[in-house]
């Protein structure tokens, strides 16, 4: 299977890191095999898609929707923070983002 696979275990690990999902060894092995199987099944789309066919991203003709720039009632700071894992001074409290020493 390894020689014919569409995606390597290392590639799945790289993609998982991009998607911010930390995977253990066992989970990674299991997922890599399954994702390879799924890619095999979905690759059928490549035979249908000729160069002349336009791509479609949405069922509707979407145009940008705007509204007048008027202030409307919205969530209070308390409501907005009601589900936060941590908050402080009416703000979301988050772990360090710039890699400084804690």
């Amino acid at each position: 299977m390894a020689s014919n696979s569409r995606i390597s275990r290392e590639e799945v690990a790289r993609i998982a890191a991009l998607a911010r999902i930390s995977l253990g060894e066992q989970e990674l092995n299991h997922l890599a095999g399954q994702i390879d199987g799924i890619l095999d099944a979905v690759a059928v789309v490549q035979e249908a898609a000729g160069a002349a066919v336009p791509a479609m991203s949405h069922p509707l003709e979407i145009t940008n929707v705007t509204r007048p720039d008027v202030i409307l009632p919205s969530l209070t700071p308390d409501q907005a923070l009601s589900g936060a894992p941590a908050s402080e001074d009416s703000r979301f409290r988050v772990p360090q983002i710039l890699g400084e020493e804690a």
Binding site: A17, I21, I38, V42, M56, S57, V65, G83, A86, P95
Partner: protein, 496 residues
């Protein structure tokens, strides 16, 4: 068991408006049924006893002329739609305990119409699945046979209807999550035209495919609920600003004389069980006897639909689910003061998401990544065009298309849970609809070895009324044969 729970929503609404029964009595009867049966079925993730009774008392105080025909009637809400102050988990550990500070537009409309929300129903995590086994809170069981799945992702809503826990339910359908559960539980479910029902407050899975819709035990009840929730909403940029088709009148008229009904050739044959094919053929014969013209139609690109769907939906999901970042709401894991935000994010998503959600996020991230984008996501988008053209060509010849909703009846819990590709085939007949954004209904066609079979109707965009016209006609004859809705034939539940 109270007689009230066997009644249709239309009957209950009428009894309530005439003062023959109170909304409180009706609501209490359903809460009692939930208390008695849900330890076995597990259709609900949250039962809002107090809130429902308070809503019922309000409905009793405000009933009167000009109210919605569903005023005071209870409903089960899929746990992917926000309801202010009520837990909303999407079947995921990552949102466990979250109480949204706002109502979805669907919930606002339900409340404005006096509909009583009993609680939140179980689902595959973030609506990814066809069996409800992917819920972080345990599978829902099919009331027809509790060893079997109730379909997914909206298995909780469908099972609640079949177990007489509620006469109405809300589902959402990205690739079949309303219709496939309806099919395998012997209930009715409609995926409206994309843009027909607001997605505001619907936790997004695949934004170009997701659509909320009505579920019930009869076609008329489904139409009454459709009318309540559908219509333009400025809060959803993809909401269609046009009049809602008169689905209730269509359900009541239910006349197919002279209609052209197209049978999709590609949605039959290999993989479709004999019992499913037989019930489908019998339903066609009924429609023909009622004066419809049955025509075979070919949609040659439908064979690529499953592949396109399992690239487009995971791609959009990988982007939509990026919002679960452990920063603003939901779970946060590993924040010990030394780890970076990025590390906390990765640990939280690892702990909070289940296997299927991780599979799809990784698949989608891959399909969108540099070097693979054109081959996978790009090709899938082209297939989407081809499928939409197939529908357009078919609707030149016919008024609606039909097929079995699912290739098989409900399978056993656990039968496909570690075989994603086999699980994905459950939605082979429902997926083309979402890719094109057209409207579709599943309604019961009968039983195969004691388990329900679904009949699927597909109408052009914004012609949702045709679903009810055809579904109503077929249902009228089937109810005559069955002496009432199919759900009345459910074996008595062996409660635990």
């Amino acid at each position: 068991m109270s007689d009230l729970i066997k009644k249709s929503a239309a009957e209950l609404g009428s009894l309530i408006s005439q003062g023959q029964v109170s909304s409180r009595e009706v609501t209490q009867a359903h809460l009692d049924q939930i208390a008695a049966t849900d330890p076995t079925i597990n259709a609900f993730l949250f039962i809002d006893n107090e809130g429902a009774l308070a809503q019922a008392d309000l409905a009793d105080r405000t009933k009167g002329e000009g109210k919605s025909p569903l005023h005071g009637v209870p409903l089960a809400l899929k746990d992917v739609l926000t309801q202010k102050g009520v837990p909303t988990t999407c079947g995921s550990k990552i949102l466990e305990g979250w109480r949204p500070p706002y109502d979805s537009t669907v919930v606002t409309r339900l409340k404005d119409s006096g509909v009583i929300i009993l609680g939140k129903t179980n689902m595959d995590e973030f609506a990814m699945g066809s069996s409800t086994e992917n819920s972080a809170f345990g599978p829902t069981r099919n009331p027809w046979d509790t060893e079997r799945i109730p379909g997914g992702s909206g298995g909780g809503s469908a099972a609640a209807l079949a177990a007489f826990q509620a006469p109405l339910a809300i589902g959402t359908d990205t690739g079949g999550s309303i219709r496939q559960p309806a099919a395998v539980t012997g209930t009715v479910g409609v995926k409206p035209t994309y843009g027909g029902v607001s997605r505001y407050g619907l936790v997004a899975f695949s934004s170009s495919l997701d659509q909320a819709g009505p579920c019930a035990r009869t076609v008329l009840d489904t139409a009454l609920l459709h009318q309540v929730i559908a219509g333009y909403d400025p809060k959803d940029a993809t909401s269609i600003n046009a009049a809602v088709p008169d689905v209730v009148a269509a359900a009541q008229r239910s006349d197919v004389k002279g209609m052209k009904i197209g049978v999709v050739k590609e949605l039959s044959g290999d993989g479709y069980e004999k019992g499913v094919a037989d019930r489908f053929a019998e339903s066609l014969a009924i429609l023909e006897s009622q004066g419809a013209e049955i025509i075979e139609v070919s949609c040659p690109n439908f064979k690529y639909a499953l592949g396109a769907y399992y690239l487009i939906a995971p791609s959009e999901a990988s982007s939509n689910l990026a919002r679960f970042d452990a920063m603003r709401y939901g779970l946060r894991v590993g924040d010990d003061g030394s780890r970076s935000a990025e590390e906390v994010m990765s640990l939280t998503r690892a702990a909070g998401f289940g296997a299927e959600v991780k599979r799809r996020i990784i698949l989608g991230t891959y399909a969108l990544s540099a070097g693979y984008y054109e081959a996978f996501y790009g090709s899938a988008q082209k297939v989407r065009t081809l499928i939409t053209r197939d529908f357009a060509a078919a609707y030149q010849k016919v008024d609606v298309l039909v097929s079995p909703t699912t290739p098989t009846v409900a399978f056993k819990i656990g039968a496909k849970s570690d075989d994603p590709v086999s699980m994905y085939l459950s939605d082979v007949a429902t997926i083309p609809v979402n890719l094109a954004g057209v409207a579709s209904m599943s309604l019961p066609a009968g039983l195969s070895e004691g388990l329900p079979v679904g009949f699927q109707i597909i109408a052009p965009a914004m012609k949702d009324d045709r679903l009810y016209q055809v579904g109503g006609a077929l249902e009228r004859e089937l109810h005559r044969q069955w002496n009432g809705p199919l759900t009345h034939q459910i074996p008595e539940l062996q409660v635990r």
